[in-house]
């Protein structure tokens, strides 16, 4: 499909504004029927006809973002900025997590939810902290995400936070039937929430439980909304689509750290540009004992675990 292709064929005699109005009219008619038939509520013609993000022209992207900002303002009664910052040339992001320092406090989980506008009800969390037995090591048969001791770290245990591993060979991208998810040039795997059909094949393919589905209508109180968003990142999501960690794309493409790195009280989380030889992440990868989660699956994560001490 080319950039210029119209979703609806047009008669030759119809020119200029006539084209547009006809297209919008047809779109509105189809959208109303689709909305009514599928119970997905008020879908505008533009919503219904919106194309895959990667196939839009620059102008279409601008128009789409303006529309989304308008819709979000209606929904939340607040101004929402939807950014579209592209990957920075010469940057590939990588992450390293120090298993010997993490105490399992889950501050990262909640900082992530706050920053990335996850649904509060039903709850969605992109980071999952696993409590493991020290005797067993990293063993998924002896772990739980539902630990609740009076104090962390609990004796005899260590903690392994998991989230999207931003694979170089992401199985989720490979299986998506509509190309709604892809790996950006800076290594971030993203989802177009307006293109995802909600088949959940990516969730079956992901070996890290990193993808989450909006099983119900996501609820996000307006006063808890983070209005600084990115189209491919933390803008509010919809019922029936998949979402995941984006290394806080709205922050990191603007030179900031991800929220989980910033909040971590023990400094277990390291983040940076893997192409920069002077970066902290390169120091960790070159000098520490590093491993990749489920390395045998050859997903080649840009997310590393290490033992700092």
């Amino acid at each position: 499909m080319t950039m210029e292709q119209d979703p609806i064929p047009q008669p030759e005699s119809c020119e200029g504004g006539c084209d547009v109005s006809r297209r919008v009219f047809l779109g509105a008619a189809v959208a109303t029927v689709a909305g009514a038939l599928t119970g997905c509520g008020d879908i505008s013609a533009e919503d219904f006809l919106q194309r895959n993000f990667r196939e839009m022209s620059k102008q279409e992207v601008q128009e789409t973002i303006a529309r989304l900002e308008r819709e979000y303002k209606e929904q939340f009664g607040r101004d929402v900025y939807v950014g579209n910052e592209p990957p920075i040339p010469g940057v590939i992001f990588a992450y390293a997590l120090d298993l010997s320092r993490c105490i399992g406090c889950r501050r990262c989980v909640y900082a992530c939810v706050k920053e990335n506008n996850q649904s509060r009800d039903p709850q969605i969390q992109w980071i999952r902290v696993l409590q493991m037995d020290k005797e067993e090591g990293v063993n998924l048969e002896h772990d739980t995400a539902y630990y609740d001791p009076p104090e962390v770290p609990a004796p005899g245990h260590f903690y392994m936070p998991t989230a999207c591993q931003q694979c170089k060979k992401p199985p989720c991208v490979k299986v998506c039937p509509v190309g709604a998810t892809w790996r950006e040039k800076d290594g971030i795997v993203v989802v177009d929430y307006n293109w995802c059909i909600g088949c959940r094949y990516c969730m079956a393919a992901c070996p890290y439980g990193a993808r989450h589905f909006n099983w119900g209508e996501p609820h996000l109180p307006a006063d808890e909304l983070n209005p600084h968003t990115h189209y491919l990142g933390n803008r509010p999501r919809y019922k029936g689509v998949v979402e995941k960690c984006t290394f806080c794309i709205q922050r990191t493409r603007n030179g900031r750290y991800p929220a989980c790195v910033e909040i971590c009280p023990t400094g277990s989380r390291k983040f940076g540009n893997i192409l920069d030889p002077t970066s902290e992440i390169r120091m960790v990868l070159e000098h520490k004992r590093v491993f990749k989660f489920k390395e045998d699956l050859n997903t080649q994560p840009n997310f590393f675990y290490f033992y700092g001490v």
């Binding site: 499909m1 979703p7 689709a34 909305g35 038939l37 599928t38 119970g39 997905c40 879908i43 219904f48 895959n52 196939e55 039903p122 999952r128 696993l130 998924l140 048969e141 002896h142 772990d143 739980t144 995400a145 998991t162 199985p171 490979k174 299986v175 998506c176 039937p177 509509v178 190309g179 709604a180 293109w195 995802c196 059909i197 909600g198 088949c199 959940r200 094949y201 969730m203 079956a204 393919a205 992901c206 070996p207 890290y208 439980g209 993808r211 989450h212 589905f213 909006n214 099983w215 119900g216 209508e217 919809y238 019922k239 029936g240 689509v241 998949v242 699956l297 050859n298």
Partner: protein
């Protein structure tokens, strides 16, 4: 133009055939319509609430719907079980029943597409998957492959069935040069729909339960057991209720072929179980959850063993010539093998793939009432399609009803109904 006019009267007469029936026929149709209505109401609720109305969650992100889908792809594929001997070996007794197999395939495919549709989170974005209009991620995504092969197979079968019936209706012999290549083509197509569906799971390294090289062969072996089981029962019903003559020989031949595939299916299941339990790696947990339970969770265990025992019993009934040629034991065998494969290729395939999940969590999935009702509605749609196809096709196949003959039946039906 003449052809078009004849075809229009073919369609109109088919509709008339379908609308006229006995009391039992109307009761059956009404029953199906009630199930469809209940399913539609349940589905409306699911659309309103979202898929949270199901019991699927992030840990078990596919469930009852996709399980039924997988099983029904097998039923659709099994149509070739009958086509192969009929056309390749030119074996006459079985030939007239291949069209029934093709109609069964059409109905099964309608249900398959229905189950996929109710499973997706954004059915309003359905057009995104259409080639050229949307963005079909082909050849990378196996789901894209599945969309293509399932629809091709549906169109192929629909065309062959329509063409054969139209020929019967116009009292002309079908053009063999047209039908034979299409029927032969439907053989690899049937294999491919089930292979592609198996690969859809098979290709996921994240799910060791599915990531086994014999998954696709197992799919085919089990499909060749369950699909013909439905047909065998159906053929007996049709012999009794219509003038369609189907020789005992044909039924017993199909049953004999089924005995071999059942044995093969059991062998493959045993091969899989041996590999998992003997090597006893961490990957054994999924099969352990299925057959023995894991960490105090036993939800699937009774079903898993029921499937194994039904499969074994059916195999013995079909293997021994005496029980194979006894109508009672033959039919018991059909029900047993059908149940066995329904469990094995439905919930028994999907749920252990997700339990424990990729991070080791056990989420015990059981379908919600919404899922059961919606599934009931889709099955009813499939049965309705099949019933209507049969209702129109049988008199045409028998030559009782053509563009010149059999019109008096409409008057009869009206007077007998009145």
């Amino acid at each position: 133009m003449a052809v078009l006019r004849t075809f229009a009267s073919f369609v109109a007469d088919s509709a008339r055939l379908v609308l006229k029936g006995g009391r039992l026929y109307y009761a059956w149709i009404a029953f199906l319509l009630v199930l469809i209505a209940v399913g539609a109401v349940a589905y409306t609720g699911q659309l309103r609430e979202g898929l949270i109305a199901t019991h699927m969650r992030d840990q078990v992100s596919w469930g009852f719907y996709i399980g039924n889908f997988t099983f029904l792809v097998g039923v659709a594929a099994a149509a070739i079980m009958l086509v192969i001997p009929a056309y390749v070996y030119n074996w006459e007794p079985i030939k007239e029943i291949t069209i029934l197999g093709e109609m069964l395939a059409i109905s099964a495919l309608v249900m398959c597409l229905g189950f996929v549709l109710v499973d997706i989170g954004r059915p309003d974005r359905f057009w995104h998957i259409l080639p050229f209009i949307g963005h079909l991620n082909w050849p990378s995504s196996l789901l894209a492959w599945d969309v293509l092969v399932l629809n091709t197979y549906l169109i192929l079968n629909a065309f062959v069935v329509t063409y054969l019936l139209y020929c019967a209706y116009t009292e002309k012999h079908y053009v063999k040069k047209l039908v034979l290549p299409l029927v032969l083509f439907s053989i690899p197509m049937a294999v491919s729909i089930h292979t592609v569906t198996a690969y859809l799971y098979n290709g996921l390294a994240s799910r060791p339960f599915w990531n086994s090289a014999i998954l696709a062969p197992r799919f085919l072996a089990s499909a060749f057991c369950s699909g013909p089981a439905i047909l065998l029962i159906l053929l007996q019903i049709l012999r009794k209720t219509t003038k369609l003559r189907i020789k005992d020989e044909a039924i017993f031949k199909v049953a004999e072929l089924m005995a071999y595939t059942m044995g093969f299916n059991l062998f493959l299941t045993a091969a899989e179980a041996f590999k998992e339990f003997y090597s006893n790696t961490q990957h054994v947990v999924y099969m352990q959850y299925l057959y023995f339970g894991l960490k105090g969770h036993y939800a699937l265990v009774p079903f898993a063993w029921a499937s194994v025992l039904c499969g074994l019993a059916a195999f013995i009934l079909f293997l021994v010539p005496k029980t194979r040629k006894n109508w009672i034991t033959l039919n018991i065998g059909c029900v047993l093998i059908y149940s066995s494969v329904y469990i094995e290729k439905g919930m028994g395939l999907i749920i252990p793939g997700f339990t424990p999940d990729t991070l080791g969590e056990i989420y015990v999935y059981r379908p919600s009432l919404t899922e059961v009702l919606v599934a009931g509605g889709i099955f009813a749609i499939g049965f309705l399609v099949f019933t209507l196809l049969l209702k129109a096709a049988v008199p045409m196949m028998l030559g009782e009803f053509t563009h010149t003959k059999g019109r008096d039946r409409f008057k009869d039906a009206v007077s007998s109904a009145g």
